[in-house]
C-alpha cells in the first residue's frame, strides 16, 4: 500500500520529473494547436531522443505531451475554426462562434477547466477500474464496432444543419474519400484512379486541414476589410457557478470519453463526436442554440477527448494493447526501454501503472496552470487583421500537412479539399458530416467485412448476431431508438402511448 502511494506521488515530489511533466504539457499544447503536428509524431520523435534516459523521465515527458496535445487541439479550433487535432473538430462547432462574438477568452478558459475535469475523471476511472474496463473493451466484437460506426453515422442528423439530404450526401462523400487506397483484405486499389500516390489513402488529417483551414481562409476573404471583433479578455476563468452548472453534463460526457477511449478501435475523435451529440440531445435549453456558440457544445467534446486519454491507457497498461495511436507508440517506448508491456506489466512492474496514474493527474494540474495563463495573448490572434492572418493560415496548413508524412502530394490534396470545401460551404453543405464520414467510413467497412467473414459470409447469421449477443443487442436497441426519435413516427408513438 505504502509503495503504491509512493509511486503515485513520485512525479509530484521529484523536481526533475515535475519539470519534465510541465515541459511536456507546455510543448504538447503547441504541438496539439498546430494542425498536422500530432502527438503521435511528437512522442515518436521523443523515443530516439530519450533512448538513454531513465524510463520514468521518458514516460513523464510523454505523458505531459499527450495530455497537453489533446487539449491544445482546441486552441486553434476556437480561435481560427481550424481544429489542431481530429479530436477537436467538434470543439470548433461552438467554440469558433464564441470567438466571433468576442468571447474567445471565455471559451478557452472554459475549455481548459473542462479538459482538466474530464482528464481527472479519466484518470480516476483508469485507477479504479482498469482491469474490468479492459475486459469489457475486449468484449466488443467486429459486429459491435460495426454498430458503433452506424450509431456514429446517425450523428449526421445533429451535424447537418438545415438540409438532411445535404448532410447525408456529405457523409457519403467523406466515407468515399476515407476508403480511397489499397483494400485491407485483398490489397487491390480502390478508387485510386490508377495513381500510385493514392495507394496509401488520403490521411484524414489532410482532409481536415483542407476542409477547415483552407476553406475557412478562402471564405473569410469575403469580408477582408471587416474589422475583427474586439475580444473581451477580462473574464477568462469561468466562475464557479458556471462550472457547477455544467458539472452533471461534464461527468456524463467524461464517462463517454473514457469508455470510447478504452476501446482499442476507437479514440478521442469518435468520443468527442458522441459527446457532442449527447449534449445536443440532452440539453433542453442551451445558453445559445448549438452551432452558434453554446457553452454546452464546448464542454462536451473537451471533457470527452481529455477523458479518452485515461481510457486509452486502460488496455495499454493492463493488456499491453494500445488504446489509440499515441499509446501504441508509448508501448514501443516501453519495449525499447527493456520493459515488457503485456498482461504481466501490472503484476511484475506495478509501479509503472501507479506512476503513470499519478503522472497523468499531475499533467492535468499543469494543464490548468498553463491553459489559463497566456489566454489574453492567444485571444489577440482573432484580432490580427485578416490581411495578415489569412496568408499565414495557408502557410500553416501547408507546413502542417507536409510534416504529417513529408509528402508534397498530400499538400496538393489539402489545397484541393480546401477549394472544394469552400464551394460546399457556399452552397449550404456543412464540414462536420464530411469529416464524420471520413472517420467512420473505414471503420464501418472494416468491421462489417470482419463480421461477415467471421460468420462465413452468411447474411442471415450476421443479422442474427446483431440481436442475439447481449452487447450487440444493447447497441442495436440504442440505434433503433435513435432512429425512431428522429422520424415522424415519434410524435405518433408518443400520442399512442398516452392514449394507451
Amino acid at each position: 500500500m505504502s509503495d503504491t502511494v509512493a509511486y503515485l506521488l513520485m512525479a509530484w515530489l521529484d523536481p526533475g520529473l515535475l519539470l519534465l511533466t510541465g515541459l511536456g504539457v507546455l510543448a504538447g499544447i503547441y504541438v496539439g494547436a498546430i494542425p498536422g503536428l500530432s502527438v503521435t509524431m511528437a512522442v515518436s520523435i521523443l523515443i530516439s531522443f530519450t533512448f538513454s534516459w531513465n524510463i520514468n523521465n521518458a514516460l513523464a515527458l510523454m505523458v505531459g505531451i499527450y495530455v497537453g496535445g489533446v487539449y491544445g487541439g482546441s486552441r486553434t479550433a476556437i480561435l481560427l475554426n481550424i481544429p489542431g487535432t481530429p479530436a477537436a473538430i467538434t470543439t470548433a462547432f461552438d467554440g469558433y462562434p464564441l470567438a466571433l462574438k468576442g468571447e474567445a477568452g471565455r471559451a478557452i478558459g472554459l475549455s481548459t477547466v473542462m479538459s482538466v475535469i474530464g482528464g481527472l475523471i479519466g484518470v480516476a476511472v483508469l485507477a479504479g477500474t482498469a482491469p474490468y474496463l479492459a475486459d469489457m473493451a475486449l468484449e466488443f466484437a467486429p459486429r459491435d464496432y460495426f454498430l458503433i460506426a452506424i450509431l456514429g453515422l446517425l450523428l449526421v442528423s445533429s451535424l447537418s444543419g438545415k438540409s438532411l439530404a445535404r448532410g447525408i450526401f456529405s457523409v457519403a462523400l467523406g466515407a468515399v474519400v476515407g476508403l480511397v487506397g489499397m483494400d485491407m483484405v485483398t490489397a487491390q486499389p480502390r478508387l485510386t484512379m490508377g495513381s500510385m500516390e493514392l495507394l496509401g489513402g488520403i490521411h484524414y488529417v489532410v482532409i481536415m486541414i483542407g476542409l477547415f483551414g483552407v476553406a475557412e481562409a478562402i471564405y473569410q476573404l469575403h469580408n477582408l476589410a471587416k474589422i475583427p471583433v474586439k475580444q473581451k479578455v477580462s473574464k477568462i476563468v469561468p466562475p464557479l457557478n458556471m462550472v457547477l452548472k455544467f458539472l452533471p453534463l461534464s461527468v456524463r460526457t467524461s464517462i463517454i470519453g473514457v469508455v470510447v477511449g478504452a476501446l482499442p478501435g476507437a479514440g478521442g475523435d469518435i468520443a468527442s463526436l458522441f459527446a457532442y451529440d449527447h449534449a445536443k440531445r440532452t440539453t433542453k435549453n442551451p445558453s445559445t442554440p448549438f452551432g452558434e456558440g453554446a457553452y454546452e457544445g464546448l464542454v462536451a467534446p473537451e471533457t470527452a477527448n481529455s477523458a479518452a486519454v485515461g481510457g486509452a491507457y486502460v488496455p495499454m497498461l493492463t493488456l499491453g494493447m494500445p488504446g489509440d495511436a499515441v499509446t501504441a507508440v508509448i508501448i514501443g517506448a516501453l519495449v525499447i526501454h527493456g520493459l515488457n508491456p503485456g498482461p504481466m506489466l501490472m503484476i511484475e512492474t506495478p509501479h509503472i501503472f501507479w506512476f503513470t496514474v499519478g503522472n497523468l493527474a499531475l499533467a492535468n494540474i499543469f494543464l490548468l496552470v498553463f491553459g489559463l495563463t497566456g489566454i489574453k495573448l492567444f485571444s489577440k490572434v482573432v484580432e490580427v487583421p485578416k490581411a495578415i492572418l489569412i496568408p499565414l493560415i495557408l502557410v500553416l496548413c501547408v507546413v502542417g500537412t507536409y510534416s504529417l508524412n513529408s509528402n508534397m502530394t498530400e499538400v496538393y490534396w489539402m489545397l484541393g479539399f480546401g477549394i472544394l470545401g469552400y464551394w460546399l460551404k457556399v452552397f449550404g453543405f456543412q464540414m462536420g458530416p464530411i469529416i464524420l464520414g471520413v472517420i467512420l467510413g473505414p471503420l464501418l467497412d472494416e468491421s462489417y467485412r470482419q463480421a461477415m467473414s467471421s460468420v462465413g459470409n452468411q447474411a442471415g447469421d450476421f443479422l442474427l448476431g446483431l440481436v442475439t449477443n447481449p452487447l450487440s443487442l444493447v447497441l442495436t436497441s440504442v440505434i433503433t431508438l435513435v432512429l425512431l426519435s428522429n422520424t415522424p413516427l415519434k410524435p405518433w408513438l408518443i400520442a399512442r402511448f398516452k392514449r394507451g
Binding site: S44, V185, M196, L319, M321, G332, V335, G338, P343, S453
Partner: protein
C-alpha cells in the same frame, strides 16, 4: 540579363551538389531515414532502438520519418526517388520482395543496395486459453473434419498470416474463414476477446500475452522448440513437410539508393554492422522476440533471394497468387 544569371546559378548549384556527393567526409549533415511502416509497429520499434547506436558510430543525427501506406510501397518509392548521395536511408520489412508477385509495384530490394539485414522475427501460431486445441495438430485435425468453420485472423493479402497460411496449404490442407485486421495489434485484441479462433503472429506481438497466460501458443514456425517459449511444439510436429520452407521469418533491413558512391556504401555497411552487433541492441532484439542476422554484401543478397523464392513459390503452390514466380524470374527453391 536574367538568363545568364540563372544559368550561372544553375551551374553553381550543380557544382555544389557534385562537391557535396564526394564522400570524403561523409556524413557531414543529418541523414533522413524513412521507415516504411507506421509508428509503434515492429519495424518502427526495431529501427528506433537501433538508430541511437548508429548515430553514435557515424557521429550524426538520423531523422526518422514514418511513411506508411500501400504495404510499404509509398515509403520505398520515396527513397528511390531521392538523390543517390547516401543521405536517404530506407528502413523496411520483408514485403517489397513480393511486390511484383502481388502486383503492387515493379520493384523489389534488388533495385536498391542492401546495407544490412538486421534480423528476423520468430513466428508463433496463437490461440486464446479457452480454445479446445492444445497444439496445431489438433487444430488441423478439427479443421479437416469441419472445413470452413474456424476463424483465422489475418492482416490482408501479402501479410504474415496469409503467407503462413499459404505455406501450410502448400504442404497440407487448412480450410478456414479469414478475418482481416489492420495489423498484429487489432488481431491480438480480437484474439484476446475470443472473436477469432487462432492467428499466426510474430513472436514480438504475442510473447508477453503468452507469458501472462492471456494467449496460448499452438506451434512455433521452426523445426525446434524455442527456449523462450517452453512447451510450444514446433510446427514440423504437425506438418513435417513444411521443413523445406524453414527457417523463415519476417525480416528487417536497411537499404540505400543503388547508385550511392561505393565508399559511402562501405561506411554505412560498417556502421550498421557494428551497431547491430552492439550489446545494447542485441539485448533488445532477444527481448523483442527476434533473431540477429547482421548480414551485408553477398550474404545479404543470398538471404533476400532465398526468402523471395521460398515465399513466392509457397504462395503460388497454395493458389494464393495468380502470377507465376517463374514469369518474374524467381527460381524454385
Amino acid at each position: 540579363m536574367t538568363k545568364p544569371v540563372l544559368t550561372r546559378l544553375a551551374i553553381a548549384v550543380g557544382a555544389l551538389s557534385i562537391v557535396g556527393s564526394a564522400a570524403a567526409d561523409y556524413p557531414e549533415r543529418n541523414i533522413q531515414g524513412t521507415i516504411q511502416w507506421g509508428a509503434g509497429g515492429a519495424t518502427d520499434n526495431v529501427i528506433r532502438s537501433l538508430t541511437p547506436h548508429v548515430e553514435e558510430i557515424l557521429d550524426t543525427t538520423i531523422i526518422l520519418t514514418n511513411r506508411p501506406g500501400g504495404t510499404g510501397v509509398i515509403g520505398m518509392s520515396h527513397v528511390m526517388r531521392q538523390r543517390p548521395d547516401g543521405y536517404n536511408l530506407l528502413f523496411g520489412a520483408e514485403n517489397p520482395q513480393l511486390y511484383p508477385l502481388m502486383g503492387l509495384a515493379d520493384f523489389t530490394y534488388d533495385d536498391m543496395h542492401t546495407v544490412n539485414i538486421i534480423g528476423q522475427g520468430l513466428v508463433v501460431i496463437a490461440t486464446h486459453p479457452n480454445s479446445p486445441f492444445d497444439n496445431f495438430e489438433e487444430l488441423l485435425a478439427y479443421a479437416n473434419e469441419n472445413p470452413g468453420e474456424l476463424r483465422m485472423g489475418g492482416t490482408g493479402a501479402g501479410g504474415l498470416p496469409s503467407t503462413i497460411h499459404a505455406m501450410i496449404n502448400a504442404v497440407g490442407d487448412l480450410d478456414v474463414r479469414t478475418v482481416t485486421f489492420g495489423g498484429d495489434g487489432p488481431g491480438v485484441t480480437a484474439l484476446l476477446g475470443e472473436h477469432i479462433d487462432f492467428m499466426p503472429l510474430s513472436l514480438s506481438a504475442v510473447a508477453e500475452q503468452i507469458r501472462g497466460g492471456r494467449l496460448k501458443g499452438l506451434a512455433v514456425l521452426g523445426a525446434e522448440e524455442l527456449d523462450s517459449l517452453p512447451g510450444v511444439p514446433p510446427i514440423t510436429e504437425a506438418l513435417p513437410e513444411i521443413e523445406s520452407f524453414l527457417p523463415w521469418g519476417p525480416f528487417w533491413g536497411v537499404f540505400v539508393h543503388k547508385d550511392t558512391p561505393d565508399d559511402i556504401k562501405a561506411t554505412l555497411e560498417d556502421a550498421y554492422e557494428q551497431a547491430v552487433a552492439s550489446e545494447g541492441f542485441q539485448e533488445f532484439l532477444v527481448n523483442f522476440g527476434g533473431e540477429t542476422l547482421n548480414l551485408s554484401g553477398e550474404e545479404a543478397q543470398q538471404y533476400l533471394d532465398s526468402w523471395q523464392s521460398v515465399t513466392a513459390w509457397s504462395m503460388f503452390d497454395a493458389d494464393a497468387v495468380e502470377t507465376s514466380p517463374e514469369e518474374l524470374g524467381i527460381p524454385r527453391p
